[in-house]
Amino acid sequence: MTGSRLETATAHTLSLRVDEWNGHLPGQHIDVRLTAPDGYQAVRSYSLAAPADDGVIEITVQRLPGGEVSAFLTDIAMIGDQLEIRGPLGNWFVWDQDDPSPVLLVAGGSGVVPLMSMIRARDRADIQTPLRLVHSVRTPQDRIYGDELTRLAAQAGGPSVTWLYTRTAPTTETRPPGRLRPSDLDDGSNWTSGATPICFVCGPTGFVEEAANHLLAAGHHADRIRTERFGGR
């Protein structure tokens, strides 16, 4: 582990230097395995948050109440520690950078992590594919990567970024706080220029099912909706 930084009060980004890392696709994850002195093992999956940078990969870990692995990674692990990881893993929830289809990303909470990997890959490769992120968070303080997303969205050709607040919204926000609504995903703008988008949805299970149902109801085809659920409500 070569770095750790706070993204929000409860989300930490860890940098890991990995020997012989041959890169990965945006959306892929790693498994982290912790072994206690008595031999007890716990494995959890964490999405990669960015393209690899000279053998250094990043994961963003949301600290969960009572989470035995997340609490260790956010509170106890220190720079210089060795971690046992496996990856990159998964080829289904990945964005193909050669696909010219517009990209609609829908995130609930820390479900934004693999989607940020796609946004950063697009930015670093200077790809012009239209991309829209809709990120549902409880409060403005829960915007993981908030500053970076604001900066990218302001650039010419940058992604469109919308935050939805479920509990507390900034005073400038006109949408009343609340859960995801169908109108949150289809704002009537012609950002896709009529092309069929590919949709990636990631978040807690209940959020993902709701978002996927809204997308289906809005006419998106099931084949163009890719989902990743990380449990929870």
């Binding site: 496996r86 990856g87 080829n91 289904w92 990743e228 659920r229 449990g231």
Partner: protein
Amino acid sequence: MSEHRDGNALAGPLADIFTVEATTAEVQCRACGLSTTLAQLVVYGPEPGLVGRCPGCSEHVIRVATTPSGTWLDLGGATSFHFTSTATRASSR
């Protein structure tokens, strides 16, 4: 309803067994006949024992358990797996 994830979480445990990335494979449920991508199974855990259930009928399709002696793989709930050539190519990148 207990907490569940989806078949994306099977990528790690199955990487020990299959030489190609398994979560992009199409799997057919023996109980109801539904074909779905392995990544879209409803997965109950936590590791070391994962059960992948059919999103259509909730029957178990695949079980993976890691024990000190090795890995158990139960495919009894599936009739077939279809590993597409795209999946094979993607994993060899």
